[in-house]
Structure formats: structure tokens, C-alpha cells
């Protein structure tokens, strides 16, 4: 499949925005301007930009606690995201959700989830609704390697298969569920092998290759849209940072981390774009600079935004 230049540029920009957004979040966290916790996906950017760009604007996705990149790829406003992380009233959830609950149904984003595997049945139900209402829309469901050991994963894949739901499951296999290596807690070679138990196609691919992530997801999306059922795609990737803010990286070696940094999905994609003469080095530099500016503007917007008023404390408990 031949991808347009426009799409490739868009994917690179989203990956850069994600990288800079999260580096900034890391910095703001250290300064105490962002509190609580936050889960960074630095090193995994292709796993968001690739699959999400295979969706149409009105398709849905459910994401994980490490979901900043998917939000950005689905068209989230960076200012509003940053405001949410800073706990501001102007944030996506009016400051009530924080980093792990960024959602926007208007953009088809069913939300990140603080419970590992918690979003899988929700995405499956959203897909059931698409099928029942015959909308032609599909659902993309992200989860991590760790979540594939939750009951909800198995219950949901089974359900999606028997009902042939329009859903694509994308497993972001970054090798570790917090500190636990997936090899120690999963008996099959690949997580995608588990799809066969549900008579579902399962594919394992290089999660640091944004083009491959796009293409494989796109094929699965086309299949789902045709009513030919769900697919499980596993992307192999790696998170450079710790699980969350308290991680001392005791469970993996510096060498392993450095080895994966050499496989940076952004650098790899940039090299491809230059080699294929799709972008010049100068154009890339310009995009990097403008992306950095976007993040700076987002910080400014978030910093200038007010905190929620205490009057909002008990608001939005129930819908009326």
C-alpha cells in the first residue's frame, strides 16, 4: 500500500509532539508542576501514531494508562491535554481525571483507563453498539502486554469473535508489566498466539516501525469494517522510562535500555523519510522546532489556566 506524503508527515509530527509532550511532562513533574503520577510512552511513539492513523475521524478508540500518544494521534488538543495533566479547569476532564483519564468522546476517544485491562470490555461493547446500529464505524482497543493476563482480555476477545465485532485489538508489548517481564508470565512465544484460542487472526510485528504498524492495522481495520471480525495485533516495543514516577529500573539493565534507544522509532522514521527523499533534514528540523513550540504554548496555556473552583468538587457525579 502506498501511503501519501501527507500521512507520513502527519505521523512524524504526532510522534514528535508525543515525544516532546512527554519530555516536558517529565520535566514539569520534576519541578512539581505536575503531581500524582504519569506514565510515559517515550520509545513507543510508533505504536500510537501507526494504528490510530488507520482510523477515520469518527471511529472510536480505547487507550491505556500510557496513552498520551494515542490521544495526540486521534487529534487531541495539546493545550487541553497539558491543562488536564496540570489539574486545570480547562483540561479535558476539567482537572478531575489527570494523565490516566484523558478522554474525549467527540474525538472518538473512549478514554484511558487506570485499571489494567479495564478498557478492553468497554471497547468491545462500543464495537457491539457499532454493529447493532450498523454505523460502519470501528473500534481500536489498546492494551499492554500485562493486560493480556487479565480475565477481561480473554472474555472480550472471545465475545468479539463469537459476535464478529468491528474491533481491532492492539497489544503494546513493551516487555514489562511494571517490573514483570512478559516472558516470565506468558507461556506462549507471542501474545498474538493467544488469538488462535478465539479463532481470531493474531499478528506480531515490529512496534517501532510506524509504517508497518499503520499498514497492518489498516488491513485489520478494513477487515473489521467489512464485517469480517476482529484481529489481534501485537507490536513489539520498549518504554525507555520507568513504569511510572517511582520506578528505579531495578528489573532491567542499562545495556538493555541503551540497546532499545538505538531502535528509536522516531529516528528510524526520520532516516527513512530522508533516504526516500520525502523530507529534507532541514524540513525535519523545522518540524521539530514547530512541535517544540506547540508544547511550549501548551505549557503556557496550562499555566495560565485556572484551577477548578471548589464549587466543582461535587459536580458531574451524575448526568442529568
Amino acid at each position: 500500500m502506498k501511503l501519501s506524503k501527507k500521512l507520513k508527515l502527519r505521523m512524524l509530527e504526532q510522534m514528535l509532539l508525543t515525544r516532546y509532550f512527554e519530555e516536558k511532562v517529565d520535566e514539569l513533574f520534576a519541578k512539581g508542576l505536575i503531581h500524582g503520577t504519569t506514565h510515559l510512552s517515550i520509545g513507543e511513539e510508533a505504536m500510537a501514531a501507526g494504528p490510530v492513523n488507520a482510523l477515520k475521524a469518527d471511529d472510536f478508540m480505547a487507550i491505556t494508562h500510557r496513552g498520551h500518544g494515542s490521544c495526540i494521534a486521534k487529534g487531541a488538543d495539546i493545550n487541553i491535554m497539558m491543562a488536564e495533566l496540570m489539574g486545570k479547569e480547562t483540561g479535558y476532564c476539567k482537572g478531575k481525571g489527570g494523565s490516566i483519564h484523558v478522554a474525549n468522546l467527540e474525538e472518538g476517544n473512549l478514554g484511558a483507563n487506570g485499571i489494567v485491562g479495564g478498557g478492553i470490555p468497554i471497547a468491545t461493547g462500543a464495537a457491539l453498539a457499532q454493529k447493532m446500529q450498523n454505523t460502519g464505524k470501528i473500534v481500536l482497543c489498546f492494551f499492554g502486554d500485562g493486560a493480556s493476563n487479565e480475565g477481561t482480555f480473554h472474555e472480550s476477545l472471545n465475545m468479539a469473535s463469537i459476535w464478529q465485532l468491528p474491533i481491532v485489538y492492539v497489544c503494546v508489548n513493551n516487555m514489562y508489566g511494571m517490573s514483570t517481564c512478559i516472558d516470565d508470565v506468558c507461556p506462549t512465544n507471542n501474545i498474538s498466539d493467544r488469538a488462535s484460542a478465539y479463532q481470531m487472526e493474531g499478528i506480531t510485528i515490529d512496534g517501532n516501525d510506524v509504517l508497518e504498524m499503520f499498514e497492518v492495522t489498516n488491513n485489520a481495520v478494513i477487515k473489521a469494517r467489512k464485517g469480517q471480525g476482529p484481529t489481534l495485533i501485537e507490536g513489539l516495543t520498549y518504554r525507555w522510562k520507568g513504569h511510572s514516577k517511582s520506578d528505579a529500573n531495578l528489573y532491567r539493565t542499562r545495556e538493555e535500555i541503551e540497546e532499545w534507544k538505538k531502535k528509536c522509532p522516531i529516528k528510524r522514521f526520520q532516516t527513512y523519510l530522508i533516504e526516500q527523499k520525502i523530507m529534507s533534514e532541514e524540513e525535519i528540523k523545522k518540524m521539530e522546532e514547530s512541535s517544540l513550540e506547540t508544547i511550549e504554548r501548551a505549557v503556557e496555556f496550562a499555566e495560565q489556566s485556572p484551577y477548578p473552583s471548589l464549587d466543582a468538587l461535587e459536580e458531574d457525579l451524575y448526568a442529568y
Binding site: 476532564c93 485499571i115 479495564g118 470490555p121 471497547a123 457491539l128 453498539a129 472480550s156 451524575y318
Partner: protein, 326 residues
């Protein structure tokens, strides 16, 4: 008005809502041809088809979770959990997802989901099929919790639940399914948060839920022969709770007893006690408040033991008399 059973009233409410709104559908284990473990959905698959009366795998977390997801994108699912004990298998989806989504997302998403489930003991089904777990769910902000006691109420409350934009945990009682009562043919709803004084009285207020409303009424009838006047209040919904009606009643009678089937410790009765002692009714109390509740044990199998584990009519009669002596 026609007399129909509580079970029929549940079915009628669902049938009418499925006819009224194409976004409403049912999902659960064995609800299709089998008609559900208690026969409540019997025949509905013939009328509405297998898409809208959807049999599921035995996967409670995914059943409720799929309900949450479908609700978020515009459907109005009614999911049936075969026994309320099995809610525990879906507790993440109810407590961490459905309950919190609206608030956690700053009001951006709605979860119009009804989780229907039969609770209570009395069928010899023992410890894992007989519990009364309403307090667990009443404790979680964001849920509404309903416990209807009559055919009229169950139909009207279920319609309100289906039309509500929030997740509702709807506790039916197994022993009430065959109970008959008058139900009008017309489309009506029963509002949440409005308790009903099922029997007016002056000596003591008895607050009772679900099947205990009937036992309290029977006890009140017996006590009336001894010139004891009992007021029986049925809250109908625990969340939201109509404290005003309770407080007014206690101010009138000066005495309060709460009757619940659930085991005593940490039960909803304790919440009612707290509401009353924190209110202006406290100064009107002539005696300590009494909780008549299930024993703090799992429900046993053997008939005599099972009956002794939860309040019966005679327990209520005895407790009222003791309370009046204080």
C-alpha cells in the same frame, strides 16, 4: 387494574421500553430461549430477536463492561447478572468504570446502563447464590441503587432506571418474583429518591427494604391486633435516599427500627441510623434505634438455618415489642 406478578412486571417494563426506544437492549447469560434463570425474559427473544435479547458467554466482567462501552456510545443496555452474588465478578466494571466515568471524565461521557440482578435468600441456594449486597454498591459514588418491593414499584422503577442517564444497580428479589399486585396498563414511572409510607402508624417507624417491606407489613398487621401502631417506610431506592420522609416519620413516632435482609455489619441499615442521628429527628428519639438484620454469616443451606439467618416476621414483631418497652 390487573393483578400481575413482580416477575411479569419486570418483563413488561423491559418489553415496553424495548418497544419505545430502539437503543434499549438486553444482554446476559441464558436470557434468550431459556428465559433467564428465573424466567424473567422468557419469550422476549421471540418478540425482539437475538440481537436485542442477547445471550452471552459466562463472562460477567465482559457482559457489564460491554454494557458500559455500548452505553457510552449511545445505547441503553440492560444487562442481567444471573445472581447478585455474581456482581463480584463484574465489580471492576461496575465500581471502577461505570460508576466513575461521568465524574472522572469531567462530565463528558454518560453511562446509561442498568444492571438487573436478583438478590436475597430463601431458595435453598446457599452461600454463593443468596446474598444481599446492596450496601457494597450504595457505598460507591456515581451509582444509583434500587430495591423494589412490589410489582407496581418494580415496573415503574425499572422504567425510570432504563431512562436514567446513569448506571443503576437494580436489585430484584427472587422470592418476590411470584408475588402478585395491581399494576396499571398505562405507561407510568416511579421516581427515584421518593420513599413511600406503605402503612401509616404512630408508635414506631419501621424502615424496610425489598422483601423485608412485606415482612414488616405483616408484622405491623399482627401488632395492630395488640394496639401497636407501626409505620412502614419503603425507600425504594437506597441511592438516592429520601431521608426527609424518614426523618419526618421519626419525628412523628419517636422510634426507629430498620429491617434488612443483608448481614448487619456494614449494612445499609447503619447508614440510615447515621442519617437519622445526624438529623433534627435525633432529639425526638424516645429510645435507641434498632437494626433487625441478617446474621453476620454466609447464608447456610439447610432450611431451618437459612430461615434463621435473616429476619422473619416474628423477629420483627418481637423486636418492635422490645423496642416499645424501652
Amino acid at each position: 387494574m390487573e393483578e400481575i406478578t413482580y416477575g411479569q412486571a419486570v418483563r413488561d417494563a423491559m418489553r415496553e421500553e424495548l418497544q419505545r426506544d430502539e437503543n434499549v437492549f438486553l444482554m446476559g447469560e441464558d436470557i434468550g430461549v431459556y428465559g433467564g434463570a428465573f424466567g424473567i425474559t422468557f419469550g422476549m427473544i421471540d418478540e425482539f430477536g437475538p440481537d436485542r435479547v442477547r445471550d452471552t458467554p459466562i463472562s460477567e466482567a465482559a457482559i457489564v463492561g460491554a454494557g458500559v462501552g455500548a452505553a457510552m456510545v449511545g445505547m441503553r443496555p440492560i444487562v442481567e447478572i444471573m445472581f447478585s452474588d455474581f456482581l463480584t465478578l463484574a465489580s471492576d466494571q461496575i465500581m471502577n468504570q461505570a460508576a466513575k466515568i461521568h465524574y472522572m471524565l469531567g462530565g463528558k461521557a454518560k453511562v446509561p446502563l442498568v444492571v438487573r440482578t436478583p438478590g436475597g435468600s430463601g431458595t435453598g441456594a446457599a452461600a454463593q447464590h443468596s446474598q444481599s449486597l446492596e450496601a457494597l454498591f450504595a457505598h460507591i459514588p456515581g451509582l444509583k441503587v434500587v430495591m423494589p418491593s412490589s410489582p407496581y414499584d418494580v415496573k415503574g422503577l425499572l422504567k425510570t432506571a432504563i431512562r436514567d442517564d446513569n448506571p443503576v444497580v437494580f436489585f430484584e428479589h427472587k422470592l418476590l418474583y411470584s408475588k402478585k399486585g395491581e399494576v396499571p396498563d398505562t405507561d407510568y414511572t416511579v421516581p427515584f429518591g421518593e420513599a413511600e409510607i406503605k402503612r401509616s402508624g404512630s408508635d414506631i417507624t419501621v424502615f424496610a427494604t425489598s422483601i423485608m417491606v412485606h415482612r414488616a407489613l405483616e408484622a405491623a398487621e399482627q401488632l395492630a391486633n395488640e394496639n401497636i401502631s407501626v409505620e412502614v417506610i419503603d425507600p425504594k431506592t437506597l441511592v438516592p435516599l429520601d431521608t426527609e420522609t424518614i426523618v419526618k416519620s421519626v419525628i412523628k413516632t419517636g422510634r426507629l427500627m430498620i429491617v434488612q435482609e443483608a448481614c448487619k455489619r456494614g449494612g445499609f441499615a447503619s447508614e440510615v441510623v447515621a442519617e437519622v442521628v445526624e438529623s433534627e429527628a435525633f432529639g425526638y428519639l424516645d429510645a435507641p434505634i434498632t437494626r433487625v438484620a441478617g446474621k453476620n454469616i454466609p447464608i447456610p443451606y439447610s432450611k431451618k438455618l437459612e430461615a434463621a439467618a435473616v429476619p422473619q416476621v416474628e423477629d420483627i414483631v418481637k423486636a418492635v415489642k422490645e423496642e416499645l418497652l424501652q
